[in-house]
């Protein structure tokens, strides 16, 4: 195949390179194959990239391939030699002199690298001897294995522990893929997608490796499959030099067969940008929490506050907004919101943001793909009905806008636009373009039918889930609004996610605390009642009526004590004689209200008593001389009762403090639990 052809050509070139003044290059069979693969990779990357090959390539005689400077430089850097050594090597091998990395130069350079790695000085003479293969440190998973053992090298392949590979050709391609894993500074934590590491690592939006992007962009479809955890490093073998179309096809086939049970449309191979059912539900719930009507918009400021909670940087959020707000109206409809949310989640999980809105995230696609979400109220039926209706006007809107813009650009338009607003502009021109509007429904329908693909829902294990679950919980929302939102939304969350256990924990601790409070209060009440009954404050309810005389003193005392408990101890003495009859007349009172009634009684009685306290007391004193004796007894009784009540108070106060302590401890426990949660969460959400 082409690789072999390239090898042959390279060998020929190597042989031919002798004439150019280079020392004769004696390569062992294994070396030859490795070098040819490496060279083919670098050359292929150069060929693949649009115009990224060196301009001098045109000067090269046809039939020889040149390796682009970019991949070559990366490869050399992967050898982990100091840069001065690399410079030396490039000088020595003649690339600098010649101006490009031809096969000869490349091979010599590789040999020199091997020499340098084995500790030999970088000289032409060193490559004349037998050398181990140069070692290139790739990503942690596999690269070291590859060339670390020169002894094992045979003419055939290095035995690499791969997973499923059906054909030898795949292995070969994968070797090349492995080699091309460039050493971009950040290592992907996921299984290294071989050819497109720059595209899918945790990289800030500024892509430094513009050279590789062009080649990487072609590998667009396949690398997504590389994210499968099943298919390990060899993953998507794309980006190979000559056999790219074959490989691509084969990789697609392989990935289809290996990874997913059901296959969605292969024309949308961008797995990370697909929204799963779970995620969709979650996004919809979040949307509803912000805006109850699912067919309406979320305004810009509301959305801004919401998305700012995700702690992404403002420029990134701004870019995400730009991507997702397709009609640029400063508000998000439900599909736009889902797209934006999905982008945020993806970004938080480390995926770099796309250049343009992926097709699976476009509003028409989202609306078509999820026509009947599993919502649980009649609102949704109306929404699903209104969906097609809404879809059309919205698309109409967009069509109108685009058509308006096109119209605006036409130089034929001589009238100047007076209004500043784009909407005003649209409205003025829309009237004139009513004819075009009628045409638009047809076109929008077509676009909808084209874009709406029949999605089968049962993709239970899509790559995005696995890829993201490996990192963290896939639909974990960057903002954590459930704490602030109504219980309904938090409950929905609990339904949606398994790792919502911490949320449940919070809720249970909360309810526990509430229960504790109730328990405390109930205990206090009980204790109060008990102590009150013990000290005679609250006589047992049924015993009240049949004891008029002996209860008198009790009632007096209780009447006194109750107001004492509540307030106004000073007036009790005055009002007690007056109250004698009053509480007596109300024995069959409910014990619970005893506390309050005496208060009322006290207040009621105090009012008249204060007014007529003097004469009343005098009046009461005179006709009841015996009462005086009783009153002294009563005083003693009162005093003992007072003492008892004070003790009871103290006991209650102690109990109260203990319970308070317990409450504090529970609070602290809860705080500790929440802290633990928080500590656990950043690991997952970041």
């Amino acid at each position: 195949m082409e690789a072999a052809a390239a090898a042959a050509a390279a060998a020929a070139a190597a042989g031919g390179g002798c004439g150019s003044g280079q020392p004769p290059l004696l390569l062992s069979e294994g070396e030859q194959q490795c070098y040819s693969e490496l060279f083919a990779r670098c050359a292929g990357a150069a060929g693949g990239g649009p115009g990224s090959g060196p301009p001098e390539a045109a000067r090269v005689a046809p039939g020889t391939a040149t390796a682009a400077a970019g991949p070559v430089a990366d490869l050399f850097r992967a050898s982990q030699l100091p840069s001065e050594t690399l410079h030396q090597i490039t000088e020595l091998c003649g690339a600098k002199r010649v101006g490009y990395f031809g096969a000869t130069q490349f091979y010599i350079a590789l040999k020199l690298i091997a020499a340098a790695q084995s500790g030999l000085p970088v000289r032409i003479e060193s490559i004349k001897c037998e050398l181990p293969l140069p070692r290139f440190m790739m990503s942690k998973n596999d690269g070291e294995i590859r060339f670390g053992n020169p002894a094992e090298l045979h003419g055939t392949k290095v035995q690499i522990p791969y997973l499923t590979t059906e054909k030898n050709s795949f292995k070969r391609m994968d070797d090349e893929d492995k080699q091309q894993e460039t050493q971009s500074p950040t290592m992907s934590p996921l299984a290294s997608p071989p050819s497109s590491p720059p595209h899918y690592q945790r990289v800030p939006l500024s892509h430094g490796y513009s050279k590789l992007r062009s080649s990487a962009e072609q590998m667009h479809p396949a690398p997504y499959e590389a994210r499968q955890p099943l298919v390990q490093p060899e993953g998507s073998s794309s980006g190979g030099p000559g056999t790219k179309p074959l490989r691509h096809q084969a990789s697609l086939i392989r990935s289809f067969s290996v990874e997913r049970e059901l296959q969605d449309n292969s024309s949308y191979p961008d797995e990370p940008w697909r929204i799963t059912e779970e995620q969709r539900e979650y996004y919809v719930n979040q949307f509803r929490s912000l805006q109850p009507d699912p067919s309406s918009f979320i305004s810009g400021s509301v959305a801004k506050n919401f998305f700012t909670k995700s702690k992404l940087s403002i420029p990134e959020l701004s870019y995400i907004w730009e991507l997702s707000d397709a009609d640029c109206d400063g508000a998000l409809t439900l599909p736009e919101f889902c797209a934006a949310f999905h982008l945020i989640v993806a970004r938080k999980n480390g995926y770099p943001l796309p250049e343009g809105l992926p097709p699976t995230l476009q509003p028409e696609y989202l609306q078509a793909a999820f026509p009947k979400p599993k919502w649980d109220c009649q609102l949704f039926d109306s929404y699903s009905e209104s969906l097609p209706a809404n879809q059309q006007p919205r698309d109409l809107n967009r069509m109108e806008k685009t058509s308006v813009k096109d119209m605006a650009d036409l130089p034929v338009l001589t009238q100047d636009v007076t209004s500043d607003d784009k909407q005003a502009l649209k409205s003025t021109i829309n009237e004139a373009l009513s004819k075009d509007v009628s045409e638009d429904p047809a076109t929008s329908k077509d676009s909808n039918s084209l874009k709406a693909r029949p999605r089968s829902r049962s993709y239970s294990s899509t790559s995005i889930e696995e890829a993201m679950k490996r990192g963290e919980d896939p639909p974990t929302p960057p903002p954590r609004p459930q704490k602030t939102h109504s219980r309904a939304s938090s409950l929905d969350l609990n339904k949606v996610f398994q790792p919502s256990v911490p949320d449940i924990l919070i809720i249970t601790t909360h309810s526990m605390v509430k229960k504790l409070w109730y328990i405390i209060l109930w205990n206090c009440m009980k204790l109060l009642k008990r102590t009150a009954t013990k000290s005679g404050l609250l006589p047992p309810p049924p015993a009240l009526p049949p004891r008029p005389c002996p209860s008198q003193s009790e009632q007096v005392s209780e009447a006194e004590l109750l107001p004492q408990l509540s307030r106004a101890p000073s007036q009790a003495a005055e009002s007690s004689p007056a109250k004698k009859d009053v509480p007596y007349s109300q024995p069959p009172s409910k014990p619970i209200r005893r506390k309050f009634r005496p208060e009322n009684q006290a207040t009621e009685n105090q009012e008249p008593s204060t007014a007529a306290s003097g004469p009343a007391s005098a009046a009461t004193m005179k006709p009841h001389p015996t009462v005086q004796k009783q009153s002294s007894k009563q005083k003693k009784a009162i005093q003992t009762a007072i003492r008892k009540n004070k003790e009871a108070n103290a006991v209650l106060a102690r109990l109260n403090s203990e319970l308070q302590q317990q409450l504090k401890e529970v609070h602290q426990e809860r705080i500790a639990l929440e802290n633990q949660l928080e500590q656990l969460r950043p690991v997952t959400v970041l």
């Binding site: 810009g300 403002i314 907004w321 100047d416 636009v417």
Partner: protein, 140 residues
């Protein structure tokens, strides 16, 4: 087609300015700065006469030997200034108008982004950048 495009805020500080890199950028910045005076003059002149129908497109602000400077003002006093190469005689007025209209539309789109605070520099909007790039002269 344009050599330099600038968006200037109401307070006369630049929100966005981009020149084609072949030339000395400072020169363009200076030209844009001096054109602001002309813009103000035109605004005030027109304002007194026709407050309601004040046109947004100001037309040719002033021509120099090598360049022509065109201006455009929005209702919120945000000014767009475009410097065009004089040798490019194929550019008609209508084309300039259409370019300004495109600029204006992209600017409105940037404003619609809630993460953009009015008065900030326009740095984050790729759509705006792309649009401006499409209007600038292709460096050959």
């Amino acid at each position: 087609m344009a050599v330099c495009i600038a968006v200037i805020a109401k307070e006369n500080y630049p929100l966005y300015i981009r020149s084609s890199p072949t030339e000395n950028e400072l020169k363009f910045h200076y030209m844009v700065h001096t054109s602001l005076d002309v813009v103000d003059e035109k605004i005030s002149a027109m304002g007194k006469a026709l407050v309601d129908q004040r046109e947004l497109y100001l037309g040719l602000l002033y021509p120099t030997e090598d360049y022509k400077v065109y201006g455009y003002v929005t209702n919120s006093k945000v000014k767009f200034v475009m410097v065009v190469d004089s040798s490019n005689t194929a550019l008609r007025d209508n084309e300039i108008r259409s370019m300004f209209r495109k600029l204006h539309n992209s600017y409105t789109d940037v404003m619609c982004n809630p993460f953009y605070n009015p008065g900030d520099r326009i740095q984050s909007s790729r759509a705006f950048d792309n649009m401006v790039t499409s209007m600038m002269i292709q460096v050959c």
